[in-house]
């Protein structure tokens, strides 16, 4: 066994009553990619923040390269050769790449002295690790994948031998994620140690050498990746058996509920985002829209939900035409039996500063059953919120709690409960499990299937191809605003992947 880059002994950390880390031991071998998995709130980020000196452990020791280190602040971590790529990038958006990399490592009081040196060092790093990026580009104008590369360069610039990545793929497209993995492999061959935090098990299987699993503040297991399986890891994470495959009967589609014809949508700059899209969804079926993010799925979803105006085309909901080019608005659509779970729950699905019970009726607050005279009937609202909390296992079960204090998965359940319990004819769902734990994913998937079995027409948009294939009865693939093709869930991942990359097949494209 090779020597250890990191050894944590009995790390313990509490925030008030929350016991985030409970006597954690961890060994990471030098020159490996070590995955740390766990559900949201399992304590992964806290542990890594302690390693990076962002927080101090209440108890426990940190050994780097076999030597005990007192990491009181990020400076000490940097000095110990630890670099961190945060989930939310720690970059200054209106600075150039070079300025961001120099920040905190300027060499001298005056910038000019350090700039030439920084450029030379940056060129060396780019060459050694194939991390090309224009040093004079402004961060805010770079795509997310490149911003992340700058974060990695920042760490390497400071001489990091150990690189911690906190949920690095959450913001990346599949292609960008692949690129990141290649970079990490390259770092490994150069002898760097990588700690990779995620809750996506596929990524763990794809690139790590070893994996440690955390659950509720405890380190529950460490495995060699080659000797474990997705099923075992999921079970370790959640603490019970998890069904990763969704069991479902064949669909029994009924009448057409939602019909979209030649829909064209332009964004505020006038760029065509949805280009003459047509499809039908019948009662009792799930139609999934696959595609790389940014190919018009979001705009399509928002237009059908009435949040965005179409340039041309028609949408028919339960036999009645919706004026999508003009007066359609979300509340009218809701009255006509459409329910919408938006892609971005923070932006369009919830008011995070409101309580759970307030969010549970958001958009339906005009309903007479929530009113008593001119005022809201708080008792009725509370009672209904409590019923939904029970039915959807929303935790913590407190309708008075501010929504911002719920985890991502529970926030998503609040939105799902609100929309599904209205008993809609048509349910449109964007990214149902983005930022949601494995355990909650299983629950959400089951609910979506139940909705279908109750005879709802479901439109599902997701960038997770696995999710689309697991849930959908028919799959439409979008590329550059058009429907590149239709497939059944039995189609291979490669076949759908080709359509996602824009290799169109004439025959089965949009009617």
């Amino acid at each position: 066994m090779s020597e250890l880059a990191i050894e944590l002994k009995g790390i313990d950390k509490s925030f008030g009553v929350v016991h985030a880390n409970r006597t954690i031991d961890l060994k990471v071998r030098k020159g490996t990619i070590h995955g740390i998995v766990g559900e949201n709130g399992a304590g992964k980020s806290t542990l890594m923040s302690i390693l990076y000196g962002f927080y101090q452990a209440d108890r426990g020791d940190i050994l780097i390269d076999g030597r005990k280190r007192d990491i009181r602040d990020p400076n000490a971590a940097i000095a110990a050769g630890i670099g961190m790529v945060h989930q939310h990038f720690m970059l200054v958006e209106n600075f150039t790449v070079l300025e961001n990399i120099m920040l905190g490592a300027e060499e001298s009081q005056f910038l000019n002295a350090g700039i030439a040196k920084a450029r030379a060092e940056l060129r060396r790093l780019e060459r050694d690790y194939a991390l090309e990026v224009d040093p004079d580009a402004v961060i805010g104008e770079l795509p997310v994948g490149l911003q992340q590369r700058v974060e990695i360069l920042k760490a390497l610039y400071r001489g990091a031998d150990i690189l911690i990545l906190d949920e690095p793929t959450g913001v990346l497209t599949p292609a960008e994620a692949d690129h990141l993995f290649r970079i990490l492999e390259q770092l490994k061959t150069e002898g760097k140690t990588v700690v990779f935090i995620t809750h996506k098990l596929r990524e763990i299987m794809a690139i790590t050498d070893e994996v440690s699993v955390m659950r509720r503040g405890k380190m529950v297991a460490t495995r060699r990746t080659a000797e474990t399986s997705v099923e075992e890891l999921a079970e370790l994470m959640v603490g019970r058996r998890v069904l990763l495959r969704v069991d479902k009967k064949d669909a029994t589609p009924g009448d057409t509920k939602l019909s979209v014809r030649d829909l064209t949508v332009r964004d505020s700059r006038g760029v065509t985002m949805v280009d003459g899209v047509s499809f039908d969804i019948r009662a009792g079926e799930i139609v999934g829209i696959a595609g790389v993010a940014g190919n018009g799925q979001s705009e399509l979803l928002e237009t059908i939900a009435g949040m965005r105006r179409a340039a041309s085309g028609t949408v028919t909901l339960s036999g009645r035409t919706i004026d999508v080019c003009g007066a359609a608005d979300p509340s009218e659509l809701r009255r006509r039996g459409l329910a919408h779970v938006p892609e971005d729950r923070h932006h369009a699905g919830l008011v995070l500063q409101f309580t759970e019970s307030e969010n549970a009726i958001l958009g339906y607050h005009g309903d007479p059953k929530y009113r008593s005279g001119l005022l809201l009937d708080t008792q009725a609202i509370r009672a209904e919120a409590e019923a939904k909390i029970a039915a959807y296992d929303i935790r913590p079960p407190d309708p008075r709690l501010k929504t911002a204090n719920f985890s991502g998965g529970n926030q998503q359940k609040i939105v799902l409960a609100r929309e599904m319990e209205r008993d809609p004819q048509v349910l449109i769902i964007g990214q149902p499990t983005r930022g949601v734990d494995v355990g909650a994913i299983e629950f959400i998937h089951r609910r979506i299937i139940e909705m279908r079995d109750q005879g709802k027409a479901v439109l599902l948009v997701s960038v997770e191809l696995d999710e689309i294939r697991a849930l959908s009865d028919r799959i439409l693939v979008m590329f550059a605003g058009r429907i590149a093709g239709e497939r059944t869930p039995a189609a291979s991942e490669g076949e759908i992947g080709l359509l996602m990359a824009g290799v169109e097949d004439g025959g089965e494209a949009a009617q």
Binding site: F15, F54, A77, H86, M90, Q109
Partner: protein, 323 residues
């Protein structure tokens, strides 16, 4: 009167009126680029003006007055810093509180110490910053065009005026060419980036706030020791707010700050000069309208002509580590 002569005089008074605006706006530039909004520029200037005049009168020294003004302004800045950086209070409330405290206490202290209705006694020449004549100003006075420009416009200002104009490139240099400036700008945009780079967000912001205090102190001292010969109550007359407006108008950039302040200064100088004069076509404009003109134009300019002014992203928000 000769049009050229009028221009020289108007420009001369524009420079005088702009001086405190430039200093105060640069003061605001330092703290706001670091993410601490400061509506208390007005109060700090006023406090500094009072302290400067009082000390200058008692010690018969303009230099000691200036130092006293800077000291009081820095202390008020530290109060603002303690409230908004350390205690994470509302930056607006803290700034407004400083304005009110200073507006009231300068009058009370002035009355208690000098018994002149809140004024300080008129300063002798030793207690004031006189005007400086640039070299050869007298010799060159009669040279056509260049003479009046040099001797009439550039020469004959207070030392503090020259200092104010020098502070513009100096501030640019500090903000864009030094490590301190890079970090200061970063902490106003994303304090998390600064914190994870191993730099103290708190200490950095305090240093920015102290820079603000020093510049505001000079601005206040200019008002009572150079522009006037003593302190009168409320003598800042909204200049701190105009400086804030100029700062927004300038989109938080040093060179633009100079031009914005000169523009606001010009409007003021114009209003003072022409307030009782009849114009062709329009006739005589009421004095009140002329006096309001700078403020009206400020509103119009801020509302329509500057386009999108994006403030520092982390401005107004105290830094808290996650959780």
């Amino acid at each position: 009167m000769d049009v050229f002569q009028v221009f020289i005089e108007l420009a001369q008074s524009t420079i005088r009126v702009s001086t405190p605006l430039i200093l105060a706006a640069l003061a605001g530039l330092f703290t706001e680029r670091a993410g601490v909004f400061d509506i208390g520029l007005e109060g700090k200037m006023l406090g500094a003006a009072f302290a400067a005049a009082s000390v200058a009168y008692i010690l018969q020294s303009a230099t000691m007055g200036l130092l006293a003004g800077v000291l009081v302004s820095v202390l008020l800045s530290l109060v603002h810093g303690y409230a908004s950086i350390t205690q994470r209070g509302s930056q607006i409330v803290s700034g407004v509180a400083i304005n009110f405290i200073v507006a009231g206490s300068t009058v009370i202290l002035g009355e208690a110490w000098f018994r002149q209705g809140g004024r300080t006694p008129a300063l002798s020449a030793d207690g004031r910053f006189g005007t400086l004549a640039l070299p050869f100003a007298e010799t060159l006075r009669d040279v056509p065009v260049l003479g009046p420009l040099y001797s009439g416009l550039l020469s004959g200002h207070s030392l503090l005026t020259y200092l104010a104009f020098l502070m513009v490139p100096a501030s640019w240099w500090v903000l864009y060419r030094t490590r301190f400036g890079l970090r200061l700008r970063a902490v106003g945009e994303n304090p998390g980036a600064v914190d994870t780079a191993g730099i103290s967000v708190i200490w950095l912001r305090y240093r920015a706030v102290i820079c603000c205090g020093v510049l505001c102190g000079v601005a206040g001292a200019y008002l009572s020791l150079a522009a006037n010969g003593g302190f009168t109550k409320g003598m800042t007359a909204g200049k701190g707010y105009i400086a804030l407006a100029a700062l927004i108008f300038a989109k938080w950039r040093p060179a633009n700050v100079l031009f914005a302040c000169l523009l606001f200064g010009f409007l003021d100088a114009f209003a003072i000069r022409y307030q009782s004069q009849a114009f062709p076509l329009i006739g005589k404009v009421p004095v009140q309208l002329m006096q309001a003109l700078p403020y009206i134009l400020t509103i119009i300019l801020l509302a329509g002509f500057i386009g999108k002014a994006v403030p520092p992203k982390a401005g107004g928000i105290a830094y808290v580590k996650e959780r």
